[in-house]
Structures are given as structure tokens and as C-alpha cells.
Symmetry: C2
Subunit: 157 residues, 2 copies
């Protein structure tokens, strides 16, 4: 399996399958085409047999130059539990570290227990906790319509 940069040409094939990867949850709308076009240096795809089976879309903060943000990560359901997420995150950490970042942030939903466990394992800490939702410490009302989010931060060593 080959790790390469995410490209605009990946947008259409990924959009065609993304909601299915999440069991029908409509998450594709969180990922407009601009992430594929304008953040290539810090976005990555893993392919098998010419098809993307996992990808990560991230960028470097333009407000905080030493900080990078992971916006979206997805792994094809048939390829979970094989370390692809870890490989994408490691590639991102190495890349943004070389580009001068010492901090990585990302967020997830309190209901996404698998994601919370994954991030803790990857060395992230939960920050800005202002409440709890379904047992997960989180930042309440972080996004639109009072949606709670778990905010993660990791300091690169």
C-alpha cells in the first residue's frame, strides 16, 4: 500500500463512497472540494489496487504558524484495524513537523468512541473540557446548533 498526497482528482471517487464508509452518516458534506485542491502538502491518501482506501485531509494554521489541524480522516470499513489511520497520522506528524509545527489539533464527536480511543492512543490529550456528553468529556456547544465536540491536542516531540 502506497501513501501519497491527496489530489483534487480524488474528490469525485471519494465522494461517491464516503457516506457508505460511515454507515450512511452524511459526513461527506463536511469535506468540500477546496480541501482536496488547496491543502495537498498536508493531505494524504493510501491506495490499494488503484483505489483510495484511506485518507487524511489537514492543513497548517495560518493564524498559528506552529500549529497544524487534521480536518477529516476516513478508512474504508474493510480495511480498519490494520494501522492505516496510524500510518496517515504519522505521515502528517512528520510532514507538519518538518514544516515547523510543534502542535497538532483535531476534533471529533463525543459519540465517536472509537475515534476518541484512537486519538488517545496516538498521544493526543483532550482540552477545553466544559462538560460531558454520553460519558465523553467535551466542549459543549462547540459547533453550530449546540453540537458538542471533543477537542484534541498533541505536542510533537
Amino acid at each position: 500500500m502506497n501513501v501519497r498526497h491527496l489530489e483534487e482528482a480524488d474528490y469525485d471517487p471519494i465522494m461517491a463512497v464516503l457516506d457508505d464508509w460511515f454507515g450512511g452518516r452524511p459526513l461527506a458534506k463536511l469535506l468540500p472540494r477546496i480541501f482536496f485542491i488547496h491543502f495537498r502538502p498536508t493531505s494524504f491518501a493510501i491506495e490499494e489496487d488503484g483505489k483510495v482506501i484511506a485518507f487524511l485531509a489537514g492543513f497548517i494554521s495560518q493564524t498559528y504558524a506552529d500549529e497544524a489541524y487534521i480536518h477529516f480522516v476516513a478508512v474504508h470499513p474493510d480495511y480498519r484495524g490494520r494501522g492505516l489511520g496510524r500510518r496517515l497520522y504519522s505521515t502528517f506528524f512528520d510532514t507538519v513537523g518538518r514544516l515547523g509545527c510543534s502542535v497538532v489539533r483535531c476534533i471529533t464527536s463525543p459519540v465517536n468512541t472509537g475515534s476518541i480511543v484512537f486519538h488517545i492512543r496516538m498521544g493526543f490529550q483532550i482540552e477545553h473540557v466544559t462538560g460531558e456528553h454520553q460519558g465523553a468529556p467535551c466542549t459543549v456547544n462547540h459547533e453550530l446548533n449546540g453540537q458538542h465536540r471533543v477537542l484534541f491536542v498533541k505536542r510533537l516531540s
Copy 2:
């Protein structure tokens, strides 16, 4: 009226009114909090009496260093037709020009005739035309679910 950078603290008050500004069209979901946090240098707000009445969220491409992108612009309905949009765009052009950009891109919906006229007046050209929707030349199937978009480009002189 004061033009200043857009700040994370603007997120909650803007989200509370944004869909109303667009006559109930649910556009606020296109503007996650990360645009307020991480793209401050190229995002601007205009205030009156301590309230934001217009704003622009944009960034510099990390793939194409000489290119900037305007992601979202909104003007309070009571303040339209007074040149606030023009003022925000001019501030953006000046700022990204100083930061090394020579090209600005943005997109709109083919149904948004006012936006199309505004961009033409601001010196944008329509590019990558592959069809027409409700009389507007556009790029068909540009975004999710076969949504068409009008793609604009302006070269800064």
C-alpha cells in the same frame, strides 16, 4: 465602520444570525469554526456599534502559494448596496497581494445572480465552464450530489 480581522470570538454571534441573513437558506453549516480560528490573517469583519454586519473568510492556498481563496462572504441584509462587500474584497486583495498572491479564486451557486454580477464587477472572470444552469455558465457537478458551481478567478495587478 471599522474593518478588522475575523476572530474566533465572532463565531457564536455570527452563527446565531447567519441563516437569517440568507433568508433562511442553511448556509451556516458551510462555515465551521476552523475558518474563524485558523485563517485570521486573510479573514475580515466590518462592525457597526460593536456588531458584525459583514464578513469575509478566506485563506491562502497551501498547494499553490501564489493563489488565495475566498470561502465565504456575508453582508447583513439591512446593509447591502453600500459597498461593504467591495470593501471586504479590496481588503482581501491588498492583504493576499502583500503575502505574495497574484491570483484569487472563489465559487458561487448558478442561482445566485447577485453574487455573479458582484464578482464580474469586482474584476473576476468565470472559468472552467462545462455547462449552463438557469442561464448561468457554470462547472457542472462541481460539488457533492451533482451540485453545479460558478468558478471565478481574478488576477491581481
